[in-house]
């Protein structure tokens, strides 16, 4: 790991010294050994703050729309973070020439909440796209994860409704899932609108249901399944599962994947005349 760290620091130093890049966003040492924290390096002398380990969980692309608006910014990114960057470029939130991508090979990250215990992130166990989609430099190689993934939500339809009711009853509407997501960059979120009020800020299960189900629809074809939303949830709601199932249907129906540079329009912003027809009455 240390060799990769050195290379990251070297690339960051070169970028900052080139004069073109005024900021490199990466991960730094956290306040405890099992956490890292986003760092914003502006001086070449500070590149030693950058680290790389299995606790580099944050999807740093979330900081790009604000920081890379009018200047070129470097970012240290895992393959999933890069898919977010691709989405942001496709949606014209940032320009490709304003991002210098230091891409990393990845073997999955670990989520830890107590000292000494960490588990591989569930989303990482499903990740097939471990090659960086776009990059300026690549450091290291991706390693597949061998562990099988457990089924998280119930298979049976009848059990699912109760399952989600129980899960959403925990929701405290902290909006951490939304704030951490690079794809949630709307200036005014539907959940904060009062005219019309789509969902009240009451911490009840049905309002939480409305918020989360709408958010998943808004992420349709845009969520790159990094799993950060689940990681940050203080009450353990597996919000990424809904987005994951949505992404699987989008791939099956429309052969479309979020974060793929070849896509030219959002999945819901295009259609084919031979699209699968969801109408239910055959005549």
């Amino acid at each position: 790991m240390s060799e990769i760290e050195n290379k990251i620091r070297e690339e960051a130093r070169k970028a900052l010294e080139s004069g073109e890049i005024s900021l490199v966003i990466g991960w730094g040492e956290g306040s405890v050994p099992f956490k890292t924290t986003p760092v914003f390096v502006e001086k070449a002398d500070d590149v030693d703050k950058l680290v790389w380990n299995k606790f580099c969980v944050n999807n740093l692309a979330v900081y790009l729309p604000k920081t890379a608006r009018d200047r070129k910014v470097g970012i240290v990114a895992k393959p999933c973070d890069i898919r977010s960057i691709v989405t942001l470029i496709q949606e014209k939130q940032i320009k490709r020439e304003n991002v210098f991508i230091i891409a990393l090979g990845c073997g999955g990250v670990a989520d830890a909440t107590v000292p000494g215990e960490s588990t591989p992130r569930q989303m990482c166990l499903l990740c097939e796209k471990r090659q960086p989609a776009i990059y300026d430099v690549v450091i290291g190689e991706s390693v597949p994860l061998e562990e099988p993934r457990a089924q998280i939500i119930p298979e049976l339809l009848e059990e699912r409704q109760k399952y989600w009711a129980e899960q959403f009853s925990k929701c405290i509407r902290c909006y951490a899932c939304r704030q951490v997501c690079p794809a949630c960059y709307c200036r005014l979120c539907f959940a904060d609108r009062v005219e019309p009020r789509w969902t009240a800020r009451k911490a009840t299960a049905d309002e939480a249901w409305m918020f989360h189900s709408t958010r998943v629809m808004h992420l349709a074809g845009r969520c790159i399944q990094c799993g950060e939303c689940e990681r940050v949830c203080p009450v353990g709601i597996p919000v990424a599962e809904l987005a994951r199932e949505m992404a699987a249907v989008i791939k099956a129906n429309y052969n479309y994947e979020a974060g793929d540079p070849k896509e030219v329009a959002p999945v819901l912003g295009q259609f084919r005349e031979d699209d699968v027809d969801p109408a239910q009455h055959s005549e």
Binding site: I172, C174, Q179, D192
Partner: protein, 340 residues
Amino acid sequence: MSDKILSKSKIQDYLKALAEKFTVVAPMPRRDAPAEFVEINSGDEPILDGSQPMMPPKDYLLPRYETLLKVDRGPEGVKIESTIPEDKPRVMLGVWLPDAQAIQVLDRVFLDKNFVDPYYAARRQNTLIAAVIPKEPRWSWFCSSVDDVENWRKNVDAIFYDLGDRYFVESESEKGQALVDVSAMSEAGDEDNAEKDKVWRRFAEQDILPFARKALYEQLEWDNPIWAEIAQKCLGCGICSYMCPSCSCFDIRDDMHDICIERYRCRDTCQFEDFTLMGAGHNPRPTQLPRSRQRLLHKFKYQHEQFGVVGCTGCGRCVELCPVNVDIRDVLSRTCVEEV
């Protein structure tokens, strides 16, 4: 005040005895989520040893969503229904000591002599608080760094010390006697006392951080460069304030159901962009920097100036849960460096 021993095998007997006099509120476990303070039923097995993450007790005293009144228009005319909860004797068990101390902060806000919040008062004024000191303090606690925890004892009615197979229970107030005068308990001996002292010391001497308490109130300044650093990475979610046992900001909103209006209270946080957004569109805290600064100055400086009580009680939830590892212990260590 008296000291007793409660064997863990006698917990159900104890809870049954308490239930005859009180509504018992204790943390109940949930799937994949922190335990939650609820009114327990006979046979329930609450988490009384403080060993697991839990939602703060403010979620019971000041619920996340609470109806304040209902207005109905029926055939007989307009009817207004108040929904003030029942004021009945209650006891809260299994409360972390930092959370119990945080209730003092809430009391300053909601039981101010010039205005008593009737909803909070109904749940609070006849409620005994029994704190718990777990065998090992939680890794993220920093209580002794923010206050002299010896002074916290008098603010609870009883303290349960986890000695492994039993609790050492100490009443701290007259009313707290009712929590130890229970037949399920036995007398405490010298050995018990010695172990209890060890448990207390482990808690009280945990990791005193290199910042001086007095400096908190006097050295946190408006133009400290650290605010910009925090604001750069802070995502502006509500985790720190919603999970904090002493944060209590709320919003009051109206909802219409058919022709019935419900006025309710829900949580709000100074970390959301629309917290200070005004009707005309002006927002005095339009970016994350003033919002981050506000929260920390309020918690560590203004609340002390206003109420004479420390706003933060070191429960560590924000340290554990912040998605970007804004660690308040580090922030304070870097800003409050000298004894003033």
